[in-house]
């Protein structure tokens, strides 16, 4: 997978996760708390993970590491 594509995937995951976070934490109820912990947090963390891996791959390719 190209670096541009994996960064795009990271962006989509972060955008969706952050949007779910804003909506779910507008008013915290048991169901919105569940949505935040089970949907938003994993999406944002996955996005961050994909982004960090992409950066590491670029750094390794360009001799930055």
């Amino acid at each position: 997978m190209s670096e541009a594509k994996s960064t795009r995937i990271a962006a989509v995951l972060v955008i969706v996760g952050s949007a779910v976070e804003i909506v779910s934490l507008y008013r915290v109820t048991p169901i919105t708390f569940l949505v935040f912990t089970m949907v938003s947090v994993p999406l944002v963390l996955a996005g961050l993970g994909v982004y960090v891996l992409t950066v590491l791959r670029v750094l390794r390719r360009t001799g930055g590491l």
């Binding site: 795009r8 962006a11 989509v12 955008i15 952050s18 804003i22 048991p30 708390f33 961050l48």
Partner: protein, 197 residues
């Protein structure tokens, strides 16, 4: 938290719309680092802190109808009922009254309480709700002693004299004498105390 999440979304969208130009310049790469790395992490930290705080409120616990009698028990006309005694005399923060007594005060107390809460939500929506509720484990003295340990009223009480070490070591449960719990019988009987009748 909202601003960070909003900015992360904005920068993420900007990247999706013009990825080539952003990743082709130093400033653009820094913007991506902030938008996809720093801001989401900051927003997630803030969001988690907000979620933990809000989900510790009395209002949050009483969102589920199963908890209604326990919420009503804060107003029963019997000061032997522990929640009522604590709530009515303002011994604990009324906005976090359930959480103050039902979370452990150890290092992982908040984490454990949230995991248990998630289990409650699961049971509420997908599981079988029991007829009567029981604690997962015997109520620990440490939760009582977190507030009462060096309180004069506790140490001077005739019933506590000579027993304090037993309580601290958990050899004698506080509930041996203070066993009334929530006073659900009074709730059923409709015996309530009102501050401003």
């Amino acid at each position: 938290m909202l601003v960070s999440a909003g900015l992360a979304i904005g920068l993420g969208l900007l990247f999706l719309l013009d990825a080539e130009r952003l990743s082709g310049s130093r400033g653009g790469r820094i913007a991506i680092l902030i938008g996809l790395g720093c801001l989401p992490l900051f927003a997630l930290g803030g969001g988690t802190a907000h979620a933990v705080h809000e989900s510790s409120s009395t209002e949050f616990c009483l969102n589920c109808h199963e908890m209604t009698p326990y919420g009503q028990s804060l107003f029963v006309e019997d000061t032997k009922a522990l929640p009522a005694a604590h709530y009515q005399s303002r011994l604990i923060d009324r906005d976090h009254v359930c959480y103050a007594c039902h979370k452990d005060y150890g290092l992982l107390g908040d984490f454990k309480a949230k995991l248990t809460g998630l289990n409650h939500v699961y049971v509420h929506f997908l599981g079988e709700i029991p007829e009567t509720f029981e604690l997962y484990s015997p109520y620990p003295n440490s939760n009582c002693l977190y507030c009462h340990d060096d309180a004069r009223s506790f140490l001077d009480s005739a019933g506590h004299r000579g027993q304090v070490e037993q309580f601290r070591k958990g050899r004698t449960s506080c509930l041996t004498c203070h066993a009334m719990g929530h006073g659900l019988d009074q709730v059923k009987a409709g015996e309530f105390w009102l501050a401003n009748p």
